[in-house]
Symmetry: C2
Subunit: 455 residues, 2 copies
């Protein structure tokens, strides 16, 4: 499904506003290198859709097809899927809505039966489908000007909701970190989160798994596979429907009954899921897990060019159950030698408002050798006179040369954003606020403890 | 101080990298319409600095001066301030650092003594000073390309930390909401947060007060003035140094001893301060308080074009102690008449992924009349096929015609950001995540309860 050599787009329409047309167009635009077959039951013999010969049924194609993308009205899906089975297509993504999520449980049961009969791995229905920037698979019926596609990377994102999925995907692209697989599984009628976790466990490109879950049907199996996965790679989860009313809303949406907040909380902790409370945390956590090694302790060094922000960062460290590192005597002595008198030699290390590239460099050269430090929060406020691109470059240099987690906090408008993008595109995770930075580091440390059974 | 007709910049240097030079340049660039006097003790007779005649001392100017901005080395500040007193200057901003924050308590006491002797309202030392986009006062020594200046508006921002102050100011500019006064008061040697709150209570341009506080010296007076202010206008506070280590860091930074987290929490609640936990909350809360009427109840209506985001918003509403409104029978009947069958008539109202301007318009026309609703969260995901600028325009229209709080949630990259800016610049508060939206509405409601003594 994720790396097909040939794809049939069933419901490929001549109308450029129709889902099937957009999907076909996206495959072409992305430069998909496999075979593409538009299928439209109303196609005239020899008719072409976006320059490709159209077929009235997959049975007419007479060639091996790896993946069927189905975007036809719900009542027609069973017959189309039946034809896929007869054509020996082994994977199908059913984009079409109009099944259990609107009460049409029978129709959904019917397509599951067909999928089982022909042994078709069926994703959906009622989903956005899949995207893989490496294999160029892209069933998303949203044009790229509305929904930016991320670059190739190590984060795989599994989502029950298409809406949440598309916004997160768009944000992943905006934040500049890379994607391995995007999988929107909708009603989870056949392939569900358990199957997807199992698949991603073995997928070599996937370093971090991010999940949006509304409801879980196979709880026991989820626990089993989750335990296996979290031993190997981190899984960051946002669970929707954690309040009674939220669960009701989820039920009317993907027809899944959501569970109790506290129960999920305890459960997730038990098998090492990293739980995000909202979309911003989901992004913040995905960013750090995709770019950082795990810290081997909880001792944080803070380097700053703004005193107040250093105070906020110190609060944030302790409020997230981390602590400030105690600089070694050697570190203190060396810092005292090179730092100007206005700099107090302590952690947080306030380099003062006139700190420039040299002062950051001097400080980081010294403290990066200190064995008493497990991770670094470097605050660089680009509003100050001394902070410019050379500071950003130096931070990128140290990030590449320090094996411990190092993250940057910077907050501001255009000038700051330019430097933020510069650092992030070089693999340095950047956060807007000290609290976001510290909570991300805390999750990283918690996961290290989980993996090492210290908890 | 905030609306001077004449300003002396003491320490105005010929060197464009010096603080005094940058301040003078900013006054000129901002189009300050009053008289400007550069003062530099090394000025040659008749010498000009940035085209303005320079004086060696304020005593040479022989004209009435409303404000002295002092940016000279700390040891010289006493003599300069003494001259200001003799020249009958009644307000002074001491930008210079090198006082209590580096242990130089005596020097600081000395300038306070001089300020008292001559009855000079002295801000600082060790501060960024003041900015008022209306009167064009701007003592910030940070160039505008690094630190964007906000437009004129109703938010006044009082900050002990220059670093935090400058980043927040930059963010206020980025988020597009307007500023009344910016006041960075540094060491609070003479003018402190109590005086500033009293001033802003009576300032007609100020609708919302935002404060960054590290330590408080006059606790009793702060409580008294706070009680008066919060009856009239909201005060949003971020308190730094709320952990033991954070308090220590704060002490070494502005020489103020910070208090205990829980004590401040209880205290702030008691006199109606809105407390922000981090910089993002500070911005989120300032945004809603500056653009919204207070809600008269806790019943929220959610309208969405993404099911999952609606579920997350429902959770967020209840996790923030608000609740979903129950639509009136009339609302339900009218909605059923105009909505397509795929739309479930319930709250959250999921308009479905193909919702366009007309569907949003139909829904909002009906529910905006419903007396069972106190406030609105409208989710508009611009990744979807039907959502475009016409939807954003319609939301702006409803915002102007609904007297209850209405906020928008939209999440995504470039296409989304364009529409976010479009809506925000029209006074519609926009949030990135359902959680941020709900927590902002919850603070608005809490403040209404506080003002109405329901709490």
């Amino acid at each position: 499904m994720m790396n097909p050599k040939s794809v049939a787009v069933i419901g490929a329409s001549r109308d450029p506003n129709k889902v099937g047309h957009i999907i076909l167009q996206n495959y072409i635009d992305n430069g998909f290198s496999g075979e593409l077959y538009p299928v439209n039951k109303n196609a005239a013999p020899g008719e072409k859709i976006i320059g490709l010969t159209a077929y009235r049924s997959v049975l007419e194609i007479k060639k091996s097809i790896d993946l069927a993308v189905i975007a036809v009205p719900a009542p027609i899906v069973p017959s189309v899927l039946e034809e896929c089975g007869k054509a020996k297509i082994k994977t199908a993504v059913v984009i079409s809505g109009g099944f259990a999520e609107v009460g049409n449980v029978e129709l959904q049961d019917k397509i599951v039966e067909i999928a089982k009969k022909y042994n078709i791995a069926m994703l959906g229905p009622n989903c956005l489908g899949i995207m893989d920037p490496l294999s160029k698979v892209d069933t998303l019926f949203l044009p790229t000007y509305k929904l930016s596609r991320p670059r190739v990377g190590g984060v795989s994102f599994v989502t029950q909701s298409g809406a949440v999925g598309s916004t997160i995907l768009d944000l992943i692209a905006k934040e500049g970190f890379g994607l391995s697989k995007f999988i929107s599984y909708g009603n989870a009628a056949y392939v569900d989160e358990v199957d997807l976790l199992e698949y991603l466990l073995h997928d070599k490109q996937t370093k971090v798994i991010v999940m949006y879950i509304e409801g879980v049907k196979r709880g026991k199996e989820l626990i089993e596979i989750a335990k296996k996965v979290t031993k190997v790679k981190p899984v960051i989860v946002i669970k929707a429907g954690v309040t009674e009313e939220g669960a009701k809303a989820a039920h009317s949406h993907t027809a899944s009954l959501a569970g109790n907040n506290e129960a999920y909380d305890a459960l997730f902790k038990q098998f090492g899921f990293v739980r995000a409370k909202d979309l911003s945390e989901l992004l913040n956590f995905a960013k750090i897990f995709s770019s950082e090694n795990l810290p081997k302790g909880d001792r944080v060094a803070i380097v700053t060019n703004g005193g107040g922000t250093g105070v906020l960062a110190t609060d944030a460290v302790y409020l997230n159950d981390l602590k400030l590192a105690e600089f070694s005597e050697e570190t203190k002595r060396e810092l005292r030698e090179v730092m100007p008198d206005i700099v107090n030699i302590r952690n947080p290390l306030d380099l003062a408002g006139d700190a420039d590239e040299k002062r950051y460099s001097d400080a980081l050269s010294i403290i990066s050798k200190d064995p008493n430090i497990d991770m670094f929060i470097v605050i660089a406020l680009f509003q100050t006179p001394g902070a410019d691109s050379s500071v950003a470059e130096k931070l990128i240099y140290f990030k590449k040369n320090i094996e411990k987690p190092m993250i940057v906090v910077t907050t501001g408008s255009d000038f700051t954003q330019t430097h933020k993008i510069m650092m992030e595109s070089s693999g340095l995770p950047v956060y807007d606020s000290p609290m976001a930075a510290a909570s991300a580091l805390a999750e990283l440390y918690k996961y290290w403890k989980y993996k090492n059974k210290i908890l």
